[in-house]
Amino acid sequence: MFALDIGWGTTLAIKTIVILMIIPAGALILGYVFLLKVMSHMQSRLGPMDPGGFHGWYQLIGDGIKFLQKEDVMPTKADKRVFAAAPAVVVLSTFLVFAVIPMGPDLVVKDLDIGVFYALAVSSLSVIGVLMAGWASANKFALLGALRAAAQLIAYELPLLLAVVGVVIQAGSMSLQDIVLQQQNGEIFGWDFIGNPFILTQFIGFGLFLVASQAELTQTPFDMPVAESELVAGYMVEYTGFRFLFFFIGEFGTAFGFSALAATLFLGGWSIPGVDGDWANILGPGVLFAKLMIVAFLMFWVRFTYPRLREDQLQALAWKFLIPIGLINILLTGVFKVAF
């Protein structure tokens, strides 16, 4: 394939535009496929399957138009600037995560040496936006929701990190591109025809990662910050129209980002056995998308099935079970790494 001879600035602009398009598109795809269609099937809902004829394809468009038409209400006592900035902060962290996720051998915005570290760090920026939203709303339900979110995200950063440490040890690198290549070129006991997706050896880490990311995404069974039956919608309760849409995009965009991260770390990312070079660049995004949809399906399946834990039970789960399991996983990984 030919290399494009374009300047640094143009490349950056193209990359930025692509990222800016991927996240809302990904959020909409996830929202459409899972929130509207998979959930409708699982819950035998008729509404979202109806508009527009075939499979209710019009539902999401209708929802979007509805959001845009809504009046932009801001509470009188709200801290106006913080209130307005909060949704943007939440969405921003989602965009930042995607900057390091490789979609092909050459398709990556910036292959940082500390890609994993960076991705996990920026993904927790969203809690600042959530706190801003809860505090600025001048609403007790929003405040309770925001504080719950803060406590929860702090507790679940650690298991998330520990889950990933196993992968980093095994790959010997924190760059996401390296991790993908390791999986593509790896071998398990001499077999190398499917490479070595880390889910085969890091299945404990994969489980931990899914549980912890479920908490990071504030999805059921860890959706106390939004808890629509208790806090109505938690920190989002005062948001309407377009700002609410931002939170919606942030929620599903982050789900998209975490699924992509899980697919990259554990399922081999863009790599597919037997495809190399230019074809990997062409097929890569599609492969990554297919893998992340599998991960997202698991996440949303749990979301539509389980009830919600209580805040103290959630903390107990994190500190008593997930973190020790994560530490044991690291220990085992270390032992195997040295032994083999």
Partner: protein, 397 residues
Amino acid sequence: MTAPTHASARSEGPGWVPQPGVSEPSVGMNVELDTGDMVLNLGPQHPATHGTLRLVIRLDGERVLTADPVIGYMHRGYEKLTEFRTYPQVTTLINRIDWLSSFANEVPFMDAAERLMGIEAPPRAQWIRTTLTELSRIATFLLFLGEMGLQVGALTPAFYGFRDREHVLNLIEAATGGRFHPNFNRIGGLKDDLPWGWIAETRATMKIVLDACDQFEDLVLGNEIFGARTRGIGIIPSDVGTAYGVSGSNLRASGVDWDLRRDARPYLAYPDLDFKVWTHPDGDSYSRYWVRLQETREAARMVLQCLEGMPAGPIMAKVPRIIKVPEGEVWVETENPLGQMAYYVVSKGATGPFRVKIRSASFSNVSILPWLLQGVFVPDVITILASLYFILGDIDR
């Protein structure tokens, strides 16, 4: 960890109340990090209050210090309105007390009027009334079984509850013409006989209901998180429950073996039916769910028995064209889906009642909330509200 007895929990005053699974904050910490109380207004517009119940909750962090239910946002003055209606007109009103099981509301009032007049509905009418009462019980409980899941955070059971209830509502609609407010009872019998094919249809639907119960048992009751959220939460000891006038499934979940279908003055066809009264010793939110689940199954079996033993014959007794009820007063109580439903009807010989006192179950069931909600967390407030299962119309009337 052992759950503290409620007697000891009360004696410590309104401050920190021991809860299972929560360790007591040390005194030194408490002084240092003393936080102000926050008053949280739960309702009148809140999804967990099924309408317009308002709870004024004083919170320390997320722990409830006091909770005061404020009722009356939906008061419609039915007791007064009945004084300006004739007896047949009253059913329209009392349909709307507990709107999920309207048919069951009509039965005790009709019973009261018939007893004052000294007439009795023919057996077939009684059996059809029994069938429809049990169907409305199933409809109410199916909604509860889903709704409770929703309140603890699982969205899916709610949809299943609504879906399966729809089958039962279709049956009620087929027989009475109204999905929610049948207005089907007449003094001395019923408006119509059952439509052709209804019995076969009902048999098929009862199978759906029993399957739905199995599904709820798997999906909700069998779920570990559901157990963690409801076991040991909102324990009503049997003596406290009785003292507050809690009735129905809520009281049976506290281990009190008391069911008016069996224990009251015999009414409808219940003496001829074979059914079990389910109780649970724990008295927590989980056991309330469990008892209602078993009662849904029991009700489905009772409906099948009713269909089996349905006698032939007329559906209306001989009743004068203009109904005048002789002087007298009567207290009629029945076991409604939400608990003990009773009417105290005083007649002065006119076409309408002189005074009607409505004893609705939810009013008493909710009266225990200030006692029950002390010291629990905000999420548990919702669990407890959901597990007590009240209907606002039944509280405010």
